[in-house]
């Protein structure tokens, strides 16, 4: 039998660009999105798109233009955010979003540097970077999308997976308790700590826009449905059912001590803005202690030379 191959069509760049032009700009948020990147790769019913929308909405509310802002993300489904936003973004290696962003924030102090990453990226492989950046109070805005598992690699157990929850690597239920992220961020020294779910998009916009006004290390946890990795093994249903579940099980308690915000499988989820304090950030105290002291010493030496 003779196999007939279809003739290969050369990639039509013009047609592709025309298609991008046709689709891009239809939505008011498209000015913040890279042309041609939508539709994104996230599953139907995934909450990541909601968190991205709330971030864009917060920027619009605060009149922050894309050139005043930079976004750094790690690896994972959440890490893809860096590829979609039409501004200076960087998709770092796994877990290293915070070290990269720290350098950026110190070199460019006027920039709003936001770290947008997943729970596995920020608290498993990147856990140490996270706590030390919070301790030093580096001027970073961290948005952690918590979907209770490693979504991208196939729904493995994460440091946030609640006790007893099933994942692809804990088919009989997780034997370890998960982190309470707001409590951890607070204990490490964050100046602003909030937690919302994607069922609370307006509150999420409010919290993210508040972080644009703060200097120092801010932490916003956004609990998002992951129907593919977490919803299916735990019988939470589709993304919409998981959204409704978070709506029904969350309890808004602004100002509650973050220690009370422990998450249990099928238990209630305490949400709210927990911490909002002020403390000198890393760059300020570095400038006032080290740089000014060095400058004073340099001036003294100059005086000696002149004399």
């Amino acid at each position: 039998m003779k196999v007939r191959l279809r003739e290969l069509q050369p990639f039509d760049k013009e047609a592709a660009e025309a298609a991008i032009k046709h689709d891009h700009g239809l939505h008011p948020h498209d000015e913040y999105l890279k042309p041609g990147r939508i539709p994104h790769i996230w599953c139907p019913g995934c909450g990541l798109g909601v968190v991205l929308t709330t971030f864009i909405e917060a920027m619009r509310r605060k009149n922050i233009t894309p050139d005043q802002c930079a976004v750094v993300s790690g690896i994972g489904c959440t890490g893809r955010v860096a590829g979609y936003l039409n501004m200076d973004t960087y998709h770092t290696t796994h877990g290293r979003a915070i070290p990269f962003a720290t350098g950026l924030a110190l070199a460019k102090p006027d920039l709003h540097v936001t770290v947008f990453s997943g729970d596995g990226d920020l608290f498993a492989i990147g856990g140490n970077h996270m706590i030390h950046a919070a301790r030093r109070n580096v001027n970073l805005k961290v948005i952690c999308v918590n979907n209770f598992n490693y979504g991208m690699t196939g729904g493995q157990v994460a440091p946030t997976t609640p006790l007893g929850a099933k994942t692809s690597t804990t088919p009989r239920g997780n034997a370890e308790p998960g982190f309470n992220l707001p409590h951890l961020a607070h204990a490490a020294g964050a100046v602003y700590v909030a937690r919302w779910t994607t069922f609370h998009p307006r509150q999420l916009v409010h919290s993210i826009s508040q972080t644009f006004d703060k200097t120092g290390f801010t932490f916003v946890e956004a609990i998002a449905p992951c129907p593919t990795g977490y919803g299916r093994p735990n019988k939470l249903g589709a993304g919409l059912d998981e959204m409704k579940f978070y709506g029904e099980h969350s309890e808004i308690r602004n100002g509650a001590p973050p220690g009370d915000a422990e998450i249990e499988l099928r238990g209630k989820i305490v949400v709210g803005t927990f911490i909002d304090v002020d403390r000198p950030d890393f760059l300020t105290s570095y400038n006032s202690r080290i740089v000014s002291a060095a400058q004073a010493k340099g001036k003294q030496k100059e005086k000696v030379k002149i004399a």
Binding site: D23, L26, H27, P28, H29, D30, L33, I38, P39, H40, W42, P44, G45, C46, G47, L48, G49, V50, L52, T53, T54, E57, T198, P201, R202, V205, A238, G239, L240, M243, K244
Partner: protein, 112 residues
């Protein structure tokens, strides 16, 4: 509760009205906008879009959209947004409707 007349300051207020725009080809049919629209303006359509999902469509009470913006905010796909139309003057009918509104779970809601 039933109001027997229009409130005296009704002239001073108006109802914002939104026009819902749906970019069907982007929708992945998650249903968030349909479920969470506070006024129940949207429903699942029978059509398929180019990806094979059912995009939302407007129901007959579509004039109920008050441009609250929740659908824009909750859509993960940047597939739906609203635009503000001319605000509407409050009429007696609106007052009756709002004060006798049924919950969305109520069967009478759809017959409204």
């Amino acid at each position: 509760m039933k109001f027997w007349r229009l409130p005296l300051d009704a002239e001073a207020h108006s109802i914002p009205q939104g026009e819902v725009r749906i970019i069907e080809s982007r929708c992945k049919g998650c249903g968030f906008c349909i479920e969470f629209c506070p006024n129940g303006c949207l429903k699942v359509s029978k059509r398929f879009n180019s990806k094979g999902y059912h995009p939302p469509e407007l129901v007959f009470q579509a004039e109920d959209c008050v441009e609250c913006g929740l659908c824009t905010l909750i859509c993960p796909e940047f597939a739906i947004f609203t635009q503000l139309k001319e605000p509407k003057k409050i009429t007696e009918e609106d007052i009756q409707r709002v004060t006798t509104r049924f919950s969305r779970k109520d069967k009478r809601y759809l017959r409204r």
